[in-house]
């Protein structure tokens, strides 16, 4: 099996598994209990918090454990909205291709009377600092822009956006779920006020995430109950997963340089190989993208059938077609970068990881070419494109 869906989730690292299991076995006390065994768990919890804070360039008091990226996004956005509302500021700036954890939260706020402005991300999938600058108004209470896109992997100019927000006195949140552990992140240097991350995207366990919130930002509680996380997030801490997350993050951050050095040539080889399939195009900027991310659209075919046939060849991948999302529309990310519906249905995301080899890449290229040709040969849409009954969307070959 070739696992090329690391943007969906990653294989847990051996050291993260060992740490998680060790904690389950030896440190099962409740950090809120006052006896020694509970306090040992409390120490383990705070140690994890310190280590994670260090990886992000944050202070331990600025780290709040959550169940994952979605919860962190929800809490960050609701908190900033509440702070804004108190001052009569109800304008929020974001982008059209955020994760649904952000977009659906913003939708909810819209119903509560907030004005949501979604910036265009252009054909290359990158928003510019200038766009943010000109969108900020006196009543803007939050700018929330993802660090790297989960589908097309494009990396946003976070530090520059952070600087503008700092100058204008607007809270800046970034959904960094795809970036942390893959790119160098430093919240202080990059002027980030709030950041969301998720452990299972960097070889940690599922069910653990972090909301970083800069000192001075009062968080709203989303999960109400006990006084855990300084009263900002109730519920007994998922300590085994949190310990695993800390170990995985240190490991991932330590490996960023070697990982990037290894993956970029493999990614480029994959892009070059797939570019030889006629009437196909890479989605998102060629260079400013995550080291492991490749995303293509192919004319004349539909993504779900492509995925099923790749699965038969032992390749795990994903697609932005409507059929794979269970919704009626194809990926909002691909639509946001201007892909028409008919090619957005024919998209393929391959996200490589540490274990990917050059042989894997060559096998993926060969398999995708075969499957695309096979599906095109039974596609009446493709026949119409070839016969000139419908206009091609892409050039035969792009450079």
């Amino acid at each position: 099996m070739i696992y090329a869906d690391n943007a969906a989730t990653t294989k847990m690292s051996e050291s993260a598994i060992a740490e998680t299991v060790k904690c389950m076995r030896e440190c099962y006390g409740n950090p809120s209990s006052l006896y020694e065994f509970g306090q040992e768990a409390k120490v383990a919890l705070e140690d994890a918090r310190n280590r994670i804070a260090k990886c992000l360039g944050a202070d331990a008091k600025e780290i709040y454990f959550t169940s994952g990226g979605s919860e962190a996004d929800n809490q960050a956005i609701f908190s900033a909205a509440k702070l804004g509302e108190k001052k009569g500021k109800k304008h929020i700036i974001s982008t059209a291709f955020e994760h649904h954890a952000v977009l659906h939260t913003l939708e909810k706020l819209k119903k509560q009377g907030f004005e949501i402005e979604l910036l265009d991300v252009h054909k290359n999938g990158i928003v510019t600092p200038e766009q943010v600058k000109s969108a900020i108004r006196p009543e803007t209470c939050l700018v929330t822009i993802m660090y790297a896109n989960n589908e097309i992997g494009t990396i946003q100019p976070i530090a520059e956006i952070g600087e503008i927000c700092r100058e204008k006195g607007v809270i800046f949140h970034t959904d960094a779920v795809q970036a942390v552990g893959h790119l160098a992140v430093n919240v202080k240097e990059q002027n980030i006020d709030m950041l969301s991350l998720s452990a299972h995207k960097f070889h940690g366990p599922r069910g653990a995430g972090v909301l970083y919130a800069k000192k001075g930002i009062a968080l709203e509680t989303v999960i109400n109950g006990g006084a855990q996380e300084r009263g900002k997030r109730a519920g007994t801490e998922n300590l085994p997963a949190i310990r695993g997350m800390a170990v995985a993050l240190e490991e991932a951050v330590g490996n960023i340089d070697s990982y990037t050095e290894k993956l970029i040539p493999l990614r480029n080889r994959l892009i070059e190989g797939l570019s030889k399939i006629p009437y196909s195009e890479l989605n998102g900027d060629r260079e400013k993208r995550l080291a492991g991310n490749v995303n293509f659209c192919f004319e004349g075919i539909e993504g779900e059938s492509l995925l099923l046939l790749l699965d038969d060849k032992g390749i795990c991948a994903s697609s932005g077609s409507a059929c794979t999302s269970g919704s009626l529309d194809p990926s909002h990310v691909l639509l946001a970068i201007g892909r028409p519906h008919e090619v957005a249905h024919g998209s393929l995301r391959l996200s490589l990881g540490e274990e990917t080899t050059e042989e894997d890449v060559d096998y993926i290229v060969k398999s995708v070419s075969e499957v695309v040709t096979y599906l095109r040969n039974m596609s009446p849409f493709w026949r119409d494109l070839v016969n000139g009954k419908r206009p091609h969307i892409f050039a035969e070959y792009t450079k």
């Binding site: 539909e302 059938s305 099923l308 059929c323 269970g326 519906h341 249905h345 039974m378 009446p380 419908r390």
Partner: protein, 145 residues
């Protein structure tokens, strides 16, 4: 639990009757590329019997499997019988489809009806217009486009 039944996967992996009939007696196409599925059915008709049938499909696994199964169900059958083919019969023959994929079997039913109607129209054969409701196949998926 797999996404699809074994029957669906079999018809998806080894679709029956894929292709084109040159000089077909009736052709029916439904769906559109914006929605992500198009089915095209070609019929060869002898003495009111479907002598041969081929299909081309742009779409997901269940769309390909539904077309394959539908063509199997009408091959060699009189037109009157082919017109009675329902999406439910296609779904049942495939051992079921996930709820959000039922429209694939609807497309198959509609593509066949459209191909038969095309045959009637070409040959000036009278028919009951009620047999062919004004369907463009895709209304299930294309709300809002």
């Amino acid at each position: 639990m797999a996404l699809y039944s074994e029957k669906v996967m079999d018809h998806f992996r080894n679709p029956r009757n894929v292709g084109v009939i040159e000089n077909a007696d009736g052709v029916g196409e439904v769906g559109n590329p914006v929605c992500g599925d198009i089915m095209k059915i070609y019929l060869k008709i002898e003495n009111d019997v479907i002598d041969d049938v081929k299909f081309e499909t742009f779409g997901c696994g269940s769309a390909i499997a539904s077309s394959s199964m539908a063509t199997e169900l009408i091959k060699g059958k009189p037109l009157s019988e082919a017109l009675k083919l329902t999406n439910k019969a296609v779904t049942e023959a495939l051992d079921g489809l996930p709820a959000h994929k039922i429209h694939c079997s609807v497309l198959a039913e509609e593509a066949i009806k459209k191909a038969v109607k095309d045959y009637y129209d070409r040959n000036g054969i009278e028919y009951d217009k009620g047999l062919f409701p004004d369907c463009e196949g895709c209304e299930h998926c294309c709300d809002g486009h």
